[in-house]
């Protein structure tokens, strides 16, 4: 199982994100991304041209046009030309591609960014287009309805109840009061049912946002950051697409990725979980074996801000930032993609102990 571990030391050395907002009508994607890129570069003093590899994550379907990322690249300032790639996935997977690139030895640093604007359309409708195009997508089952199926399965299995789910929402938004970038924070009412058993408070806010991370290898990381957040393991796994083929109360792909990333080798003190719906936190806590002593989503998590395509990368960034600040020594970060946690990425981040 050692193959999923780093043979080359790589750390998150900087993280920046936008304020996550319900609408950003006045901003193009480039205008939304650029300040975030400038801030993350400024943290390290690096210039775009000094970065060894750049990788981004986004989705054309949110932008409403083909090849949307070609314009966003302009925000990077890719001149002279840069070594660059893009995944049509959450930025957490762009970070994975960048981590692999650094493992080859072809780059010592990487800039990873991700962004998503949900406000121009109806994200609930848009996400139905992720489903099997022949048998499922024509029925337009939306992301909240699918998450409600998962929540109900958990309640039926006796793993949670509506009160416990409400407490997850309330805790997330209370924690988000300490996060100036969060979209929702404080005493947010649980609200009415969206799709039973999920109430408004069990569902993520819809919003626009961007995030960026800088990775660096070995001594370069030590030179750029006082306390680098070392990625000691990272892995991701996918499950069957059809909901009927999966046990929605469990996440074997998360567990397998966690095993490969080394989560279970030693205790973690922090977990940043990409659980857009309250019930998904229940599934992920079980798969990752997180006890009550672990601080889960101190940033407020995706229930406080869920910019689609950036929310997973933000989990890695938030976990890393906690290590940078000395608030965590060993953290697990998680990102998800697809309906009901179909695809999951898990990373372990560690700070050197004083």
């Amino acid at each position: 199982m050692a193959r999923a571990r780093a043979s080359r030391e790589v750390a998150v050395v900087a993280f920046a994100q936008s304020d996550h907002l319900r609408r950003t009508d006045e901003l193009s994607e480039v205008e939304m991304v650029m300040p975030v890129l400038h801030r993350v570069l400024a943290q390290t003093g690096l210039k775009a041209g000094e970065i060894g590899f750049t990788c981004s994550g986004s989705s054309d379907y949110l932008a409403g046009r083909a090849f949307s990322f070609t314009m966003t690249l302009d925000g990077v300032g890719a001149w002279p030309p840069i070594s660059e790639s893009h995944v049509e996935m959450d930025g957490a997977w762009a970070l994975y591609e960048a981590w692999v690139k650094i493992q080859t030895g072809e780059a010592d640093t990487a800039l990873v960014y991700a962004y998503g604007k949900s406000s121009p359309g109806s994200v609930r409708d848009v996400l139905t287009r992720q489903l099997d195009p022949y048998y499922v997508a024509p029925l337009w089952p939306d992301s909240v309805a699918l998450a409600a199926l998962q929540a109900q399965a958990l309640i039926d299995a006796g793993e949670t109840d509506e009160e416990a789910l409400a407490a997850i929402g309330a805790r997330s938004r209370a924690d988000a009061t300490g996060n100036p970038h969060a979209q929702l924070s404080g005493a947010v009412p649980q609200g009415d049912y969206q799709v039973r058993p999920l109430r408004t408070g069990d569902c993520p806010p819809i919003g626009d946002g961007a995030a960026a991370v800088i990775l660096a290898a070995g001594d370069t990381a030590r030179a750029l950051c006082a306390r680098p957040a070392w990625i000691t393991g990272i892995d991701h796994r996918i499950e069957a697409h059809s909901l009927g083929l999966r046990d929605l109360t469990d996440s074997p792909s998360t567990r397998l990725a966690a095993e490969r990333a080394g989560v279970f080798d030693a205790p973690v003190d922090t977990a940043e979980l990409h659980a857009p719906f309250s019930a998904q936190e229940v599934v992920l806590r079980k798969a990752l074996g997180l006890g009550d002593a672990v601080r889960v989503n101190p940033s407020g998590g995706a229930l406080a801000a869920n910019p689609v395509m950036a929310a997973g990368l933000i989990r890695i960034g938030e976990a890393a930032a906690r290590i940078h600040r000395g608030e965590s020594d060993r953290a697990v970060a998680h990102a998800t993609s697809g309906p009901c946690l179909q695809q999951n990425l898990v990373a372990v981040l560690e700070g050197e102990r004083a």
Binding site: R8, Y61, F67, T70
Partner: protein
């Protein structure tokens, strides 16, 4: 911790679908599985031998499926495995193969299935590329409208006669007759027919443009130990690189983008190539409009600036020429957009494995695969050889 040397990467399995205008007989899942199964059979492996899947395609609007890797996980045997989805516009097929190769080079995985596809019959590619967005330049009625002015600029700059484009199309369509997987099989093609075809985006004629295809291409990449077990000769990756530059800015040279030059230079450096014209035996080049052959001959360093068209005109790039370009028939004969770059990479590998059939270039030992995308801003290339790289 020390930095280990890169693991050598070998191509041991290649599978394509027969590319056609519309595959009404299969779903998207059926299409990709067909290519993957052929690649596995070529490598003598089964699904259980695959550690990870890296998939690429051009925009999701072409099929109307958002992030189709989620739906395709089952069809590609990816359940329980890592699956990555790359999208770098038209260069994506090449970029996807390079991301897969890096997984092996970094020793993260040992054997990886990489696949790219497009089922263009599910929609209309021209209008899929022409969605207007406020405050951003639209792609001007499909790719042809965007690229035609740059072809005109090349002609003005180099003084190339206006017959060169038709020579490329005539050559590639004849080469395609030797490739059973090629989309266009125009048995009655003549140079006169190409030259008499309607003008679409001046100076680009109908017969100088690529078709819209349904198709998929898959490759099995593996490490040194995997290559040793391969039943057929492997193709070894000697160099691979990606480069990007902004879409639109005042200093951009659309005729010969700097990113393309830098990308080729990086690949040659890795592969130890100092004279590409002499040291490379075949080139699979991304030529969606015929004039891009002479343009890329210069951009990739096979000809001096202004001289590319002379190689084409002299027959150097013919299948039996000194530097065969697109022996498979190229993008001009087969264009499932998201797969087109990977087909270039795979056809280069077929050449050095000696597995290219009727369009085999005699004695090919080193071949280049090339892809580009966006507004000629994304480049992905690799150089493969019959022998394991020395370093």
């Amino acid at each position: 911790m020390s930095t280990p040397g890169k693991e050598p990467v070998a191509v041991i399995g290649i599978g394509q679908t027969k590319h056609v205008a519309a595959r009404h007989d299969v779903s998207i899942a059926g299409l990709v599985r067909e290519a993957a199964v052929r690649a596995l059979a070529d490598a003598g492996l089964t699904w259980a031998d695959i550690d990870a899947v890296v998939i690429g395609k051009a925009p999701d609007f072409f099929e109307g499926v958002m992030m189709p890797e989620l739906y395709l996980a089952d069809a590609l045997g990816a359940v329980g495995k890592p699956m990555l989805r790359v999208h770098t516009a038209g260069s994506v097929g090449g970029s996807t193969a390079l991301v897969a190769a890096n997984l092996i080079a970094a020793r993260v995985h040992r054997t990886v299935l990489t696949l790219a596809f497009e089922k263009q019959s599910e929609s209309n590619a021209m209008w899929g590329l022409s969605l207007p967005v406020p405050f951003q330049q639209p792609l001007l009625a499909g790719a042809g409208g965007f690229f035609a002015p740059h072809v005109r600029a090349y002609m003005r700059r180099t003084g190339a006669p206006d017959t060169v484009g038709s020579l490329v199309a005539y050559k590639d369509r004849r080469n395609a007759l030797k490739n059973p997987y090629a989309h266009l099989h125009e048995h009655d093609i003549t140079l006169e027919k190409v030259q008499a075809s309607p003008m679409l985006w001046d100076p680009i004629r109908y017969s100088e443009t690529c078709p819209s295809s349904d198709g998929a291409c898959a490759m099995i990449l593996t490490d040194r130990a995997g290559a040793a077990r391969s039943p057929k000769p492997p193709a070894w990756v000697h160099g691979g690189a990606m480069r990007s530059e902004p879409t639109l800015f005042a200093g951009k040279d659309f005729v010969s983008p700097q990113a393309g030059k830098d990308c080729a230079a990086d690949v040659y450096r890795q592969a130890g190539i100092t004279d590409p014209r002499r040291e490379i035996d075949a080139v699979e080049m991304y030529v969606p409009f015929s004039w891009y052959e002479p343009m890329w001959l210069e951009n990739l360093g096979f000809a001096d600036e202004g001289e590319g068209w002379k190689l084409t005109e002299a027959g150097v790039t013919e299948l039996d020429g000194d530097l065969p370009v697109n022996p498979s028939g190229g993008v001009l004969s087969t264009n499932p957009i998201g797969a087109s770059g990977m087909i270039r990479f795979a056809e280069a590998a077929l050449q050095v494995r000696g597995q290219a059939g009727e369009h085999q270039v005699e004695g090919a030992r080193r071949a280049m695969g090339h892809a580009y995308g966006g507004g000629a801003q994304f480049f992905a290339m690799w150089l493969v050889g019959a022998e394991e790289p020395a370093n």
